[in-house]
Symmetry: C2
Subunit: 321 residues, 2 copies
């Protein structure tokens, strides 16, 4: 089935590294299996970071190798630097993603480098990819693109300049992340349009948080201006441990429901997605999960976006049609 | 200050009639005072329904008369029929609102009349208004406009026809209500556009629920197609006791935050709105209230939509510019 939009599930990485408990490896694999069975085509399955910094990610290689066995699944991992990229490429990931913050304060807190140093890191990772795994993609997400809890407002010019620098450094895709839940729909439209005007088809995913309840409205705003890849997290698990006050990724269940109800094909089966939620909950007992659609259930007479409609504009590579 | 959008607070009616507890009258008056002090310009303060059916509304006359003493506040009350309208007009309300369901099943459950009988009721109420209080407005909201938990899908043609019938019956304003939380943004845009094509400036408020998390996205969608009046409820209090599974009005705090962050002037001061929330909570101890913005607080460096921008397109009467 063709897709109109790509939902990139980030829960196994962004979600699991944000909670205190460590999900046992077998539970992670079962959760990833359930997510893939629900029809998710891309999953960010882990981070290549030192285990002593994030013990929740100590099993990332094992998780990646398992996920690579799922047919049709795009396996992505976060890497903060060249060393992480080496390990990830050695494991065979399909895509790397590097977080590059538009706020210097957040960048230093998150990866101990300035934004400029991170652009240099991306350039090195691209060179490494070209040498070792030319088919792997190098993606970046601009963190704190819509504001920073440490710095406050983040000038839009800084974000556009950073996007241009990342494109010039060779990143295949540059997304915008509302790490701190400060974005509003008008800003989302304006900034994605400015970034697209600057870097065109390399414009990447919208990564929105629901800190102030605007997550889905911001996704809708991004959709309206042509964004066709969305990060979200099952149960809304996640946030950023290095951005005080940040909380709650957009909930995959609600995001998929919104798009499917609109007639936008996600490829995801909502009932199976609810089944995957149960697998997540079993793997993290006691951890709060969010999402309204799983609680309310699907509306009476609900019809998901069918396969009988004309093929959509979705194209896989580059991520932006 | 000019407004760009009118937030019509429905908590004292829709919220309080949906909870089991009855808020004491003095607490209601204090809450309405706090809402007005926060800058809300229109409040639906109660329902004129038999006290034995909704004991929470037994003091509606006293509440209305108190609210009428607040300068600049538009005082609205819900009336299910001509008898309620007589009492409301005798008390001097500025506006009446009648719920008219597009779903026959919901209409019978809610007001024990068919949609056609309700149109006749609206016509009688308009005649009564013309005779007794020509300056009062008669508004209607089309319930279950986006789907019904009893009937399932509601044909859009039924909604458009009903809107036309209500306009012909003399209603000043005809809004669309997602009573059951089944709306999606594409449907919201399509249906408001169709209704506006049919009845023009009589197109009224968007009344959205957050049952599946799409409340704000649906409000954004309505805003995008020119809707300039939004119903919402402080703390998300409310729902419809006669629509099984319905829950959660859009949260006023989050809606105001969204608009103000977008640069859209609501006239509402968010800090004072949070203060009103505390008054609500004191009046309904133990009752759950919702809303992400009050929990997260305003973002660092947040600037509300200023009075220094050019005057917006907002016009008070008719509600739709």
């Amino acid at each position: 089935m063709d897709l109109d939009v790509l939902i990139s599930e980030v829960g196994p990485r962004d979600g699991l590294q944000s909670v205190e408990a460590t999900m046992p490896t077998a539970r992670k694999l079962a959760w990833i299996d359930a997510l893939a069975a629900a029809g998710l085509r891309e999953i960010e399955v882990g981070s290549y970071v030192p285990a002593k910094r994030l013990p929740q990610m100590a099993d990332v290689s094992q998780v990646v190798r398992h996920a690579l066995g799922k047919p049709g699944l795009e396996v992505m991992a976060l890497v903060p630097n060249r060393r992480g990229a080496e390990a990830a490429l050695a494991d065979g990931v399909h895509a790397l993603t590097l977080p590059v913050s538009a706020s210097a304060a957040h960048s230093l807190a998150n990866v101990r480098k300035t934004p400029g140093q991170m652009v240099a890191e991306v350039r090195e990772v691209v060179a490494l990819r070209n040498e070792r795994a030319p088919r792997a993609r190098v993606e970046t997400g601009i963190s704190t693109a819509f504001g920073c809890t440490l710095q406050g407002a983040v000038p839009e010019d800084d974000v556009v300049r950073l996007a241009a620098a990342l494109a010039e450094a060779g990143a295949d895709s540059i997304g915008l992340s509302d790490t701190t839940g400060m974005a509003n729909p008008a800003q989302v439209r304006r900034l994605f349009e400015r970034v697209r005007a600057e870097i065109g088809q390399r414009t990447g995913a919208a990564h929105m948080h629901n800190t102030r309840g605007l997550g889905l409205a911001n996704c809708l705003a991004a959709w309206d201006v042509g964004v066709r890849t969305f990060d979200s997290s099952q149960g809304g698990l996640g946030g950023c441990p290095y951005a005080p006050g940040a909380s709650g990724n957009v909930v995959t269940e609600d995001l998929v429901f919104m798009f499917e109800a609109m007639g936008v094909r996600t490829g995801v089966d909502l009932e199976r997605l609810f089944a995957a939620r149960a697998v997540l909950q079993a793997g993290l007992p006691g951890e709060p999960v969010y999402g309204m659609t799983p609680e309310a259930g699907l509306p009476k007479g609900f019809v998901a976006a069918g396969g009988d409609r004309p093929a959509g504009a979705f194209a896989r590579a580059p991520r932006q049609p």
